[in-house]
Amino acid sequence: MNETVKRGSLELKADVLVIGGGPAGTWAALTASAKGAKVVLADKGYCGSSGATAPSGTGVWYVEPDKELREKAKASRFILGGSLAEHSWMDRVLNRTYENMNRIGMSGYPFPVDEVGNPHRRSLQGPEYMRLMRKLVKKAGVTILDHSPALELLADEHGVAGATGVQTQSGEAWSVIAGAVVIATGGCAFLSKALGCNVLTGDGLLLAAEAGAAMSGMEFSNAYAICPTFSSVTKTAYYSYASFYYEDGSVVEGAGSKKGRSFIARNLLEGRKVFARLDQAPEDLQPLLRVAQTNFFLPFDRLGINPFKDAFPVTLRLEGTVRGTGGIRITDEACGTGVPGLYAAGDAATRELICGGFTGGGSHNAAWAMSSGSFAGEGAASYALSLGRHAAGRAPAGLSSSTLTHRKAQPGAASRALEYTAAVQAEVTPYDINLFRTGERLEASLGRLDRLWKEQRGQEVQLSAEGVKLRETAAMTATARWMYSSALARTETRGMHKREDHKAIDENQHYRLISGGLDEVWVKPEESAKESVQ
């Protein structure tokens, strides 16, 4: 058990604490406060600019409530996702996304209009969307704590009751006692510098597991994005117009944006350089492309490259679970986790319910973030408000698996964090471990990750900016262990999970894999609704 929070640091009370201020967290905060809950939102970075959506932009699964269109939308990725999605969840998310998109239009998002003046609501520009969400959250009276990563959850015998963290700009600790907590910390991209993703280190997954929640779909966690070697911009939609070349100008057969990423990976693995050129984009389309994703062109413009004419070197940058589908297991329609008082939303939660084991490019993730955020916010508010007066006077204790302390921790925390980060990256980044999976390589990697976990587990973590980095490395190691344990257990190829030693789909494994545990990791199958989509 950890020491109670030091006096003099920031202590707040709320009905609902939302951890993470991306799309999922801001929708959770808005919907919880609309239910009458007092809400605090804590973000590791800055609510409005932090997370995967803010610097980017997302296509959104916005489908008119027309039966035929909706059925088509549901069917579009069903098989690709390994038939693990569920009808009822897809329906709920399509409905809520439609509602939410219309709502932000009314709240001032500048959607473009078509020839007859109707707003076009199929995509969102990240900076614009998240600046507006911050404004709406503030207007709703939510207290925002920026630069305030959560380091551990607090709980008593009734369930989760808040969290503690650090304000990285002042060095002070913070704690919020709350009736319910929503985890909306995004996915885990292992500090790969994919666009906007370095705040996403799986923290929420570790927090949830420490409270006793499970993960689901962690084998669907190996998203890699095509990206120029000289850039962080992992926007991939436009590579559908790309041809891929070797250094000598000959074509890389089979390479492509959607199905052909593995051809790119194999070449990179063998030490060959791969180049891309968007030479299949019709000339009259190019100005449209330039406007729709301004930041895609930013690196090229700055380096004087015309990507429609010049070939440029590319790599595959790891996005881990961010554009994968694994995350905290959801056990009810309010996005509860099975732990009283704990809810999960967005990339931190599993997205299998709407897209199975594959999300690919655009739209489902954004729809899930805003819908699950809303479900979780409403669920958390109802739960917290139902606690009534019992909520006051709770004195919960910390749940961290590493010892958190206000004492000056042993010196060298910063260099240890760097060392641990490199050690985890060495397991999750290589294409021949994470993308092309085999039982043997996964097992060997898990052995190393288990040893790493043991070493990290014994470290004291100071409640300071340096300590934050150590906790991040613990979260990444834990995430990697659930990933590879699940990948090892799924002896087939389904969705984005590809086993070289089990290349076919196995009908007997048509289930979800849930996982969890800290020192001892466990994995077990869970029935998914067996349905088909026409």
């Binding site: 520009q125 906007g196 705040v199």
Partner: protein, 110 residues
């Protein structure tokens, strides 16, 4: 990564210090902020977008600093280019409302 803060342009508003998701800058009492933790920069360009006077430059390379100087940036007109394209700033129209989005979505599906 973040490489340049133009002391000529900066008005010390500390917006960049607030919005940087990975806390790269340190405040310096109403004066020009300091790039204190450059290696933590995730090359997301958000500081550039929020700077009201186009005083910042983020080079596209996320792994290593390129050493580009303010003089070069001014010569090549690179300061503030992103904010202009996104359509933020007085008198500009946000690119989010551009009609090309509709046309592109019809033709290409995104």
């Amino acid at each position: 990564m973040i490489e340049v803060i133009s002391a000529d342009r900066c008005i010390g508003c500390n917006q960049c210090v607030s919005v940087c998701p990975t806390n790269v800058f340190d405040r310096s009492g109403g004066k020009v902020p300091v790039i204190a933790r450059q290696s933590d920069c995730q090359t997301c360009f958000m500081c550039e977008l929020y700077c009201p006077v186009d005083a910042l430059y983020v080079a596209p390379d996320s792994e290593a600093a390129t050493g580009i100087t303010e003089t070069e940036l001014k010569e090549r007109g690179l300061l503030g280019g992103y904010r202009e394209k996104v359509g933020w700033g007085k008198g500009r129209k946000p690119v989010a409302s551009h009609g090309f989005m509709v046309q592109l979505s019809r033709r290409a599906g995104f």
